[in-house]
């Protein structure tokens, strides 16, 4: 028997994820909705011997068809894919949350269960909710839930079970509008009545959506009615708008809110008025243009301090463990070629990337805490003031910060941006931010060639890279990626103590994808590199395929003062950027030899080019997964061009100045 499907719907920041985790435990799976990069979370709930597939729909404020998130949520509900719809309603923002509830009920669903979250918090604000009366008024079951403390979960499971098995019946209330609007709804229903649409959809819902001029529904109705009848309907709507002197979608929205307001009087009691809360005072500082920025730097300084303090020792330990494993394994493999492939190719290649896992996990862990506490929205506000000048929204600050750790999760984190154009631009400039692998290259070269002024050298490379990222953001958002600038509005959620379970699950989910990439793309890349550097003869003699490739590129490399060895190193750096140094090591045989072979200016150019050129394979793969091949290829091409231009300029200016 197929599992019954439970869909979780609700506004962002209502505690949906906590409820999802509480219902499904560890039995969950994250992927993408087919065709779009909206996160699809599924998990299994078992109750009374029956298994349910719980699907966490994207958090949305409404079900209009304007963003992909909304469209995904709406299509899922509209197609009747869910046997039970659990609508999570935040008691602290009841009016707005019930707006979504009404949109859901208006679809004609009668399998809705309301999970009422944050009831305790609402009471603290002086909002008392009579749950029984709420249930009677709305005509659907209401279960107060505090998932963090495990309160109400059994009741919620019972309600889901009851609803799925037809033991609960409901008579959901749906909004009534002004007589004039209702007349228009009736009229449209009359037109739609004898079409095949009537079997598939709630006609009232279709009528309301037509009144709101919903693109998706207009197209749908056009298919069944033809343009003549549709034009007639739209003409009617224009007349009503003329009389109200206001757009129909606004009329419907405000009347819907009025309707909700009237309902709420029956089950909500306000015991005290709100004064300035702790949250308000904190916001005064954290969103302030000056203090907020200082706080932001402080917070992220501590974040990186934390991540590197705990992550770097783990990374080194893991790196050591992988090479120890390789050394241990080597004698057991008799065939020399196979041994080379497995030990020097696969274990060394995949291991060097996997060793970054602790850093990636800790970074996600720290960011999930900030997210759960409610700080990220404030950070976005502070950065909005600065980043908008470069064509980026404040929210893309988070993926960019992540990139200092590793570009792969950072590219994936761009998902959180709700605008397609912002998401693309953020993803495309993301690899310009120096990740921790490049830090190892920069710090090696700075230490070896610029003793005494290494910090200055490192900072200048970082600064150039960040500047280039901002410059590219400006250019890309203006000339390359199409679309209009998205409006900025963001909810500032109440500051909350994070749920550790959610934080850990969340960081694990995100960093898991990093491991998956290491297991696929990097595995393949490591094998290719190993082959190129060992055939027809091993690297170091000048005859391997890798070296021949390097020599082919030598004339180009000379433009920026580099030789074929740099070409080989950079080529291998595409697998993982820290390979740039280890390849030099292989070609020259020792560190001293490297130092003797290059001038400081050449080393500086090499460090800069390593930072700016093609992102590592895993990052290219992430960009492809989140957009398509075309954009991934574009990123590769523009970064090669950018790195070349910067490299050529530095080399020529530097040489002219006599360095």
């Amino acid at each position: 028997m197929a599992m019954k499907v439970v869909a979780l719907a609700g506004n962002p920041n209502v505690g949906k994820t906590t409820i999802f985790n509480a219902l499904t435990g560890l039995r969950q799976h994250v992927g993408n909705w087919p065709g779009v990069t909206v996160e699809k979370k599924e998990g299994v709930l078992e109750y009374k011997g029956q298994k349910f597939l719980v699907v966490d729909l994207p958090g949305t404020y409404s079900l209009t068809a304007h963003s992909i998130d909304e469209l995904v949520a709406r299509d899922f509900l509209l197609k009747g894919s869910a046997d039970v719809v659990v609508n999570v309603v935040d008691a602290t923002a009841l009016m707005r949350n019930l707006f979504l509830t009404m949109e859901i009920l208006e679809m004609g669903l009668n399998n809705v269960v309301i999970a009422l979250s944050k009831v305790d918090l609402a009471e603290k604000h002086g909002v008392e909710i009579n749950v029984k009366r709420m249930e009677e008024t709305l005509g659907v079951p209401v279960v107060p839930v505090n998932a963090k403390e495990g309160i109400g979960l059994d009741e919620l499971k019972e309600a889901i079970y009851g609803m799925a098995n037809g033991m609960l019946a409901e008579r959901p209330v749906v909004p009534r509008y002004d007589p004039e609007v209702e007349r228009e709804i009736e009229h449209i229903i009359g037109v739609l009545k004898n079409t095949p649409l009537a079997e598939k959809y709630s006609l009232r819902w279709l009528a309301i959506k037509l009144l709101q001029r919903d693109d998706g529904v207009i197209k749908l109705v056009l298919r069944y009615l033809g343009s003549d009848k549709l034009d007639e309907i739209m003409g009617h709507i224009a007349e009503v708008e003329e009389r109200y002197k206001r757009a129909m979608d606004l009329i419907i929205a405000s009347q819907k809110y009025e309707f909700i307001d009237n309902l709420m009087h029956r089950f909500v009691r306000y015991t005290k008025t709100e004064g300035t809360s702790f949250s308000d005072q904190l916001d005064g500082i954290l969103t302030h243009p000056v203090y907020g920025l200082i706080a932001l730097f402080g917070v992220f300084y501590l974040l990186f301090k934390f991540v590197f303090a705990f992550g770097l020792p783990l990374q080194e330990a893991l790196d050591g463990a992988f090479s120890a494993f390789g050394e241990w394994l080597a004698p057991y493999i008799a065939n020399e070629t196979l041994r080379g492939l497995i030990v020097d190719g696969i274990i060394a290649g995949v291991g060097s990337v996997l060793s970054f896992f602790p850093l990636v996990f800790l970074l996600f862990f720290a960011l999930s805490i900030l997210e759960d506490v409610g700080y990220m929205a404030r950070a976005a506000v502070v950065m909005e003031r600065i980043m908008r000048k470069f064509g980026l929204p404040g929210k893309s600050f988070i993926p960019l910060v992540l990139a200092f750790g590793c570009n792969v999760p950072a590219v994936m984190a761009a998902r959180t941006l709700d605008d397609e154009r912002d998401r693309l631009v953020t993803m495309l400039i993301n690899p310009l931010i120096p990740c921790s692998a490049r830090l190892s290259v920069i710090s090696f070269l700075a230490a070896a060639f610029f003793a005494g002024s290494q910090a200055l050298v490192a900072v200048s490379i970082y600064a150039t890279a960040i500047l280039m990222a901002l410059l590219m953001a400006f250019l890309l958002s203006r000339f390359v990626v199409k679309g209009e600038e998205s409006p900025f509005i963001i909810e500032l959620p109440e500051y909350l103590v994070p749920s550790w379970k959610t934080v850990i699950l969340h960081s694990w989910e995100r960093s898991k994808e990093f491991i998956k990439k290491a297991g696929t793309i990097i595995l393949l890349g490591s094998i290719v590199i190993w082959y190129l550097s060992n055939y027809p003869v091993p690297i170091g003699i000048g005859e391997s395929y890798a070296e021949r490739l390097g020599m082919f590129f030598e004339p180009y490399m000379e433009l920026m003062g580099l030789d074929w060895k740099a070409a080989v190193s950079l080529l291998f750096g595409i697998i993982a950027k820290e390979n740039v140094i280890s390849t030099y090591g292989i070609i020259y045989g020792s560190e001293e030899a490297i130092v003797g072979a290059m001038t400081p200016l050449q080393a500086y150019v090499l460090a800069m080019v390593t930072t700016l050129y093609v992102p590592c394979i895993a990052t290219i793969g992430a960009i492809r997964a989140e957009s398509n091949w075309k954009w991934a290829a574009f990123a590769v091409v523009y970064m090669i061009a950018l790195a070349s231009i910067v490299g050529i300029i530095i080399w020529n200016v530097g040489s002219a100045l006599g360095y």
Partner: protein, 75 residues
């Protein structure tokens, strides 16, 4: 007096009268509770960048250009 939201000072309140701008932006605001009839209070407004508002007990940061499209009846 009907004025754009971004002209209010911190502490001042207004009732949303109309929202200009494209349907995408408009319906986003409406879903968040910024609907005609809703009372908005300005919490913070600095010289540039987003302003912080409170609607229905929830706080939002809204971009200045967006705020200019929300027309309110000043209270």
């Amino acid at each position: 007096m009907i004025v754009p939201l971004n002209s209010l000072r911190p502490g001042e309140r207004g009732i949303v009268a109309d929202i200009r701008g494209g349907p995408t932006a408009r319906q986003k605001l409406v879903g968040m509770g910024l609907t005609p009839g809703a009372t908005i209070q300005i919490i913070e407004a600095h010289n540039y960048g987003p302003i912080i508002i409170s609607v229905g007990g929830v706080r939002f940061a809204i971009g200045r250009r967006m705020a200019a499209k929300v027309l309110v009846r000043k209270l």
